[in-house]
Every structure is written in C-alpha cells, then in structure tokens.
Symmetry: D2
Subunit: 109 residues, 4 copies
C-alpha cells in the first residue's frame, strides 16, 4: 500500500464525512425533512463509516481495508440518493461520496 | 471517583446512546420527519456525546469528567424535546436521557 | 433478525469495548508496555470496532451486519492475544472478546 | 462564527487526529513503548477529541464549541508531551497539536 494512495483516501474520507454531516444538518433544517429522510439516514451512516475508515488508515490498522470496503458501499448508496436532489448541499455531497467511494475501492482492492 | 459510580455512568451513557439512535431512526422512518427535526438533531448529538463520554470513562481518561459535563447538557436538552412527543420511542428516550444526565452530573461534579 | 439477538449483540459489543479500553489503559500503566504492545494495539482496534458495530445495530443500519463481520474478526484476534497474558484485565478482556465474537458471528451470518 | 475559521478548525482537528493516530502506532511499534506510555495515552485521547470536535463543527452542532474547549486542553497536553521526544512522528505530532489547540481556542472563545 503506497503512502500516497493512503493519504489521498484519508483525505477523501474526511472530506466526505464533512459533506455528509453538513448535508444531513441542512436536510433537517430546511423544513422538508420528511422528503429527505432517506438522504438524512444515508448521510448519517456515510459520515460515520468515512470517519471510521480514516481512523483505521491513519493508525495503520490491519482492519483498515475491510472498513474501506464497507465505506465504499455506503458512499455509493449515499451518492446515488444525494444526486437525485437539487439542493447544492446534496449535489456537493454526491460528488464527495463518489470520490470517496473510488478512493476506498482502490484501498480495498 | 468510586468504581461503582463510574460503572453506573458508563451503563447510563450506553443505554442513552442506544435509545437516541433508535429514536432518531424511528423519527426518520415514520413519515413525519419534518415535525421531528429538532428531536432527530438532538438525538444525533446526544448519541455521540454519550458514546464519547463512555469511551473516556472506560479508559480512565483525565478528560472523562469534562465530557460528562457536556454530555449532561445535551442529555437534558434531548430529554426536554423528546418528552414533548407521544411516541413510545420518544418517551423511552426522554427517560434514558434524564437518567444519563443525572449520572453525568454526578461524575462531572 | 430477532430483537432479542440484536439487543444481546449490542450489549456484548458495549461490554467488550469497555473491557478493551480498560485493558489498554492498564497495559499502558503497569510499566511494561513494550511487552504488551500487540495487546494494546489490538485493544485499540477492538474497542473501536465494537462501538461502531453497536452504533449501527442500535440505529438499525443496513450496514450493521457488515460491521459485525469485521468486529468478529478483530475480537477473535484480540481474544487470542489477551489470553496469552496472565493479568486479570487481559483474561477478562479475552472472555469479553470471545463472547462478542460469537454474538457478532451470529449477527453477520 | 465565520465559515472560514470554522473550516480551518475542522482541518486542524482532522490533521491532528491523523498525526496522533500515526504517533501512537509508531510509539507502539518501535520497541520502547514503556518509555512512550504517556505519549501513547495522550495521543489516544487527543485523536478522539479532535475527531469528535470536527464532527460537531461539520454538523453545525450547538455543542461544537464546548468540545473545542476540551479538545484545546488535550491538544496542549499532547503537544507538551510529544515535544519532549526526538522521534520525527513525535515532533510532527507536537506541531499538529499546537496548531489544533490554537484553532480550537479561537472557536471556543
């Protein structure tokens, strides 16, 4: 595992966690959370998985790639859901999720 | 800090985290998340603070009581919000939050 | 997934996280951390994975069983390492890890 | 709270968490963990507090500044301990901790 790919994936995970937390808070605060329930739910799982994968990579854990594999799955689901909504925070979250999914897939491979 | 009070507070925090996660998921899944947005938002913070306080107590960290003080605050806010709603998961969460707030206040004192 | 098995696995994960945090702190504080480095390292990963699996189970996440599968792996590794040491905190941690591994294996099945 | 200072503090927290995880793993893996026990212990708390503060800031939580205040304290303690050791990972961790402490102090003010 090259150090360069490792750092890139940690950064992608941290960026995605921030985007997901922000998207969930915005979805909750704009007066139509019922319509955004699936998005909020996925944001919540995705933010956590991204943070956890980044944590294990940063410490060089033997279990980092196993977490990256799960993280890639939830990132792909979250990207697909967010992409369906027009709000800027959803579109930005979809981009961050797709980049993180790709970085995690490379780590898990 | 007596071992007994320590264990009791960890247990109260873990129980409260479970109740908050369950309450947030139920609030998101019952078709009226817009009306429950404040509850979901507090559940999210409260679940995290409870887990983090429990983590620092379990490891005997010097920062455990500082986290317990913040945890008590969010537990009280979450209890007040959940108590306003009739759903069983909200009422049960309010009880768990109040018990955790009391246990954390004792630790932080 | 029956509610009973679900609650039991959350409890096993929380108990194991507490045992691992305590074991790591004790290993660090008893003056022979160099000999216990592998134990401390596994305790650290195991505590985190247990907390994360419990979190996803409590919220009814679609990714809970994937985390339980990873959690079972690290619990088995941590149990094997802890069982090699005579200290009470290591022996207790080994028991908690084995119980958690079994509960997580059932969830992941 | 300006958006700019907010983003800067999240970044400082994430950078510090990475530095602390790496420092702890290196301290555990270099054959003299007993001498580094205080450093490992502080790295563990500091990494967690940094991640937690970043999480609450990213979601715009009402409790973010309270966590930043605790995070600043542990960052200062971790910086002081790491600065005492010559290893590159300790020196780099001390720098990351000092920067994070300053950013968190500004947020908590």
């Amino acid at each position: 595992m090259s150090h360069e790919r490792f750092d890139e994936c940690i950064q992608a995970c941290n960026d995605c966690a921030i985007a997901c937390e922000h998207c969930a808070s915005a979805c909750l605060g704009e007066g139509h959370a019922t319509a955004m329930a699936a998005c909020i739910r996925l944001d919540r799982d995705c933010a956590d998985l991204c943070r956890w994968a980044a944590t294990l990579m940063a410490r060089g854990s033997s279990y980092a790639t196993a977490l990256c594999a799960v993280c890639a799955e939830v990132c792909e689901a979250c990207a697909a859901e967010c992409a369906r909504h027009d709000a800027a925070h959803c579109q930005q979250c979809a981009v961050a999720c797709r980049q993180c999914a790709e970085a995690c897939r490379r780590m898990a491979a």
